[in-house]
Amino acid sequence: MGDLDNSSSLVGSTASGEATFSEAPAKKKRNLPGMPDPEAEVIALSPKTLMATNRFVCEICNKGFQRDQNLQLHRRGHNLPWKLRQRTTTEVRKRVYVCPEASCVHHNPTRALGDLTGIKKHFCRKHGEKKWKCERCSKKYAVQSDWKAHMKTCGTREYKCDCGTLFSRRDSFITHRAFCDALAEESAKAQTLGSSQLGNPNPNPAKAVVVASPPPPPLTPSNNVVSPALSIQSSEFPENPVGLSPPPPATTCLTTTTTAISTTATTTTSTGNCSNSSSSVFASIFAPSSTVSQTLAAANSSSFSNLVSSTAIPSVSAMEPTSLSLSTSLYLSNNGSSLFPTSDQQDHRHYTTTPQAPAMSATALLQKAAQMGAGASSGSFLRGFGLSTSSSPPQPQDSSATLQWNNNHHSQHKRDASGGAASTVAAGLGLEGASTVLLTDLMMGPPLPFGNHHQPMTRDLLGLGIGGNGGGGGASSAGLSALLNSFGGGGGSFATYAARGGESSWESAQERKPNGAKGPALL
């Protein structure tokens, strides 16, 4: 794979950023619909013209036509001047059509569609009203031809499970049917004899061989007809001629297979109901090796899950005071425990016990923050990167949750509740300004020297993502302070903290830092 070759050359070559950037992999492109010839003539129609059926109207009799050519022919009848457009071979230029809906991907000329009917149908389907409704199944269609096509098949293939679920496809129905409780209930009703047998709890479920074999089928064919097979085989499977009466040979076959079942049954349950010689052989072979392997497997899995839980899912252990998980302990060992006094961990515990916020991610948080804009965003961004993990709500799902959390937080630290937003800003600012040491410690780690580590690439990236963020001093040219600036830019780019009065929040940041960072080590 070309991809692989490329990538191997990329590894470890970040130092020479420029070189690696210029390596554009020549790779296959996704085949998106609507990739017209760039030479083609792009035509944009308004929704009205696009949807008008008879756009070409005769001024005499008001009759409308779909095509101009037809109108011209019509005009002949009124003795009006008419002109049919001649197709000149030289001017055959390919035309492509864009969707009038501005938010649609096909609005972009590069994704225009190749024919007028296509764009019409597209516009109807995607942005139009679905006014064609199937009376039978209530499906709605925007394009009449779609509706017609549906009407041809609707109802002809319809499967209904006893649980009430409808299926249009046989496969779907079969799969559902097999696992639906409705079937199990029916067969339980139909076969009381068998159910007693089924009711026998398996004495040793952990055994290797588990046969969930059915009770012997009903002995009489007629009984079989009443069984749930009826519901499937009758109306719903018209094409299946198996029908209502299983043929006589089936009965004999059933009895033989019944013994087959019971042989395996003995291997599992070891109750030895059936004294069949072959079955005992079976059992002796199966039992020992499989149990061994099972314990092995169990051991494997538990160790696996342990690993997983200890590393990837810190919330598992979140109830203990040392809840900051693996990564934090690493943190602690390297930076001194003063960074994370115990109160801090209580914070986390507090959070983990709050019911909010499943799933999602750091990115979700940051995204949300970006949307909310303002100081909150800069704060949460910084916190997202662990600079003030102590106060970060990992996952504000909605504003009220955040607010609530903030309130808790503030009451804990005896703060003015009204300072909520401002204090997050303050956290961000404080980091930018005063805690260089902290930053170097946290971000670079001991092995990375601070000063000469910033390569041009750093700035490039900053330039792209952050540096251009308008006023806030984001564009960082000084290599030494690129890092700081990047965060400063980040704060500034979200920008509204300036509107809140940068100075005052700055000061408040200074004041509050002992609290906000919860440890003199930060200063």
């Binding site: 101009d68 000329p109 079937l183 588990v210 499989s290 696996f304 899912i313 990564s327 943190y331």
Partner: protein
């Protein structure tokens, strides 16, 4: 009367004009093309057309490199940028990128090399992906939504049906990621055969009770699942024996193989019994790494052979040793085996966009099922990116390599019949227009917008 408004092609980007004020554009999620020339990035028209996916892939690659080289500053800057251009609820490319972003963060946290990221990850404890545990009915409906699995089911069932024609006992070993979801349709197909009326076959179903949790996960024990299947088969006048053999892909299903071998010994006259090995997206979990010479002193001859052998190879050889009637191998057509993170990232990125791209065609935004679906894809991405060693279980191999493996294990490929092709085509007609079917030599390949998604191959002992 000029009815057509003919406008000149619009400029590709409306926002091209202000190269140095991207602070708005960063905030603007709808901004799809970047305006300022990205330093060192190709700014050709190619890039602008496909700007998003390519650009995001580049960023992810650089981020991965930064993480691997311990460059915390750079890593964070890229993460920050990525985070702003790839919201988890964005378009398919953005969601794809977001998943990779999370996986990279998880990797950084796991390796512990970047303390800051580690702390960040800890702070975001719920970065963990919550894969859904399906009820069996949910799972059935879930798998039914897309041809992703149904393609393999349909093709495999057709091939199996053809191969077991005339056998009175059919033993199916189902090694499937989907917890026997294929079996009902197979049972139904067998029950619908003409000759069933006079001589219904005995079906034996053996599954490997894997102990690992790989999505999709089921909240039902295999024993219960089995009893449902048995019950269903009976309703179709088929006797089904169901058996779970605790066995796992981590050791190449060694226990399962062992049990099957013993059974072959017990019933040597199994000429009337068809043995079907149905492998549905499961074999790529078997470790494919070749063994090191871990016991060089045991015997010189074995050390030479094991040095070039992997569990995957051994498993296929062992399957061949069982002399099966037919082996159906269905799997996803991508290569995620590279030991190099960036290589894996690239090929995963260029494959796993497909689930994100397709989901819009069958699940509405914000639906529960969609969350489950995307969480499972996320799980995959995280496994590929954030894990190493035996924990990295998503080791897809492309079709060509599987074909090679099967051939060298002593199988010959069997062509899918016209009936199988028609069945698949009919099935695909029920789904979105982007799906397609491709025949490659003997095999069938499911495609999305022309890109290979899943392949289906059938094999018999050579």
């Amino acid at each position: 009367m000029m009815q057509f408004t003919e406008t000149p092609p619009q400029p590709l980007h409306q926002i091209v004009t202000t190269p140095f004020s991207p602070n708005l554009s960063i905030m603007n999620k709808n901004l799809t093309q970047r305006t300022r020339p990205w330093p060192g990035f190709p700014t050709s028209s190619k890039l602008t057309n496909f700007g998003d996916a390519n650009c995001m892939e580049q960023l992810l690659v650089h981020c991965a490199n930064a993480i691997e080289t311990n460059d915390a500053t750079l890593a964070q800057q890229i993460l920050w940028v990525l985070n702003n251009i790839a919201p988890p609820d964005g378009d398919s490319n953005q969601r794809l990128t977001c998943a990779f972003l999370r996986a990279l963060i998880a990797r950084a946290a796991r390796s512990g090399s970047l303390k800051l990221l580690a702390a960040m990850n800890a702070a975001e404890a719920n970065l963990a992906i919550h894969t859904h545990k399906f009820s069996v009915i949910e799972l059935a409906g879930f798998i039914d939504l897309t041809p992703w699995h149904r393609f393999g089911f349909t093709a495999a069932n057709a091939a199996i049906l053809e191969a077991v024609e005339g056998y009175s006992v059919i033993h199916i070993v189902d090694l499937s990621l989907t917890h026997c979801m294929q079996i009902p349709t197979l049972v139904d197909a067998i029950a619908s055969r003409q000759d069933v009326l006079t001589n219904p076959p005995l079906l034996k179903l053996t599954v490997a009770g894997t102990t690992e949790d790989v999505p999709p996960m089921l909240d039902l024990s295999y024993e219960e699942l089995g009893s449902k299947l048995v019950n269903f088969a009976r309703s179709r006048n088929i006797i089904l024996e169901f058996r779970v053999i605790p066995s796992s892909y981590t050791d190449g299903f060694a226990n399962l193989i062992e049990q099957l071998r013993l059974q072959n010994l017990v019933y040597p006259e199994s000429g009337h019994e068809a043995l079907v090995i149905n492998c549905h997206m499961m074999l790529h979990y078997i470790p494919e790494e070749t063994f090191q010479n871990f016991e060089p002193c045991s015997s010189s001859s074995t050390s030479i052979t094991t040095s070039s052998t992997s569990l995957r190879t051994m498993f296929l050889k062992a399957v061949r040793g069982l002399d099966p009637t037919v082996v159906v191998l269905v799997d996803e057509d991508a290569d995620l085996t590279s030991n190099d993170l960036v290589g894996r990232l690239r090929s995963a990125f260029n494959y796993l966009w497909i689930p994100y791209d397709t989901v819009d065609t069958f699940l509405p935004r914000g639906s529960k099922q969609r969350q489950w679906y995307e969480a499972d894809v996320c799980w995959k991405i995280e496994n590929v990116i954030a894990y190493e060693g035996f924990q990295r279980v998503e080791r897809l191999e492309p079709k060509s390599r599987w074909v090679q493996r099967m051939r060298s294990a002593g199988f010959r490929s069997v062509s899918f019949g016209e009936e199988a092709v028609n069945e698949v085509k009919t099935m695909l007609d029920e789904h979105a227009a982007g799906w397609g079917l491709k025949r490659e030599e003997e095999d069938l390949v499911l495609t999305w917008k022309g890109h290979n998604v899943v392949f289906a191959t059938a094999w018999m002992p050579a």
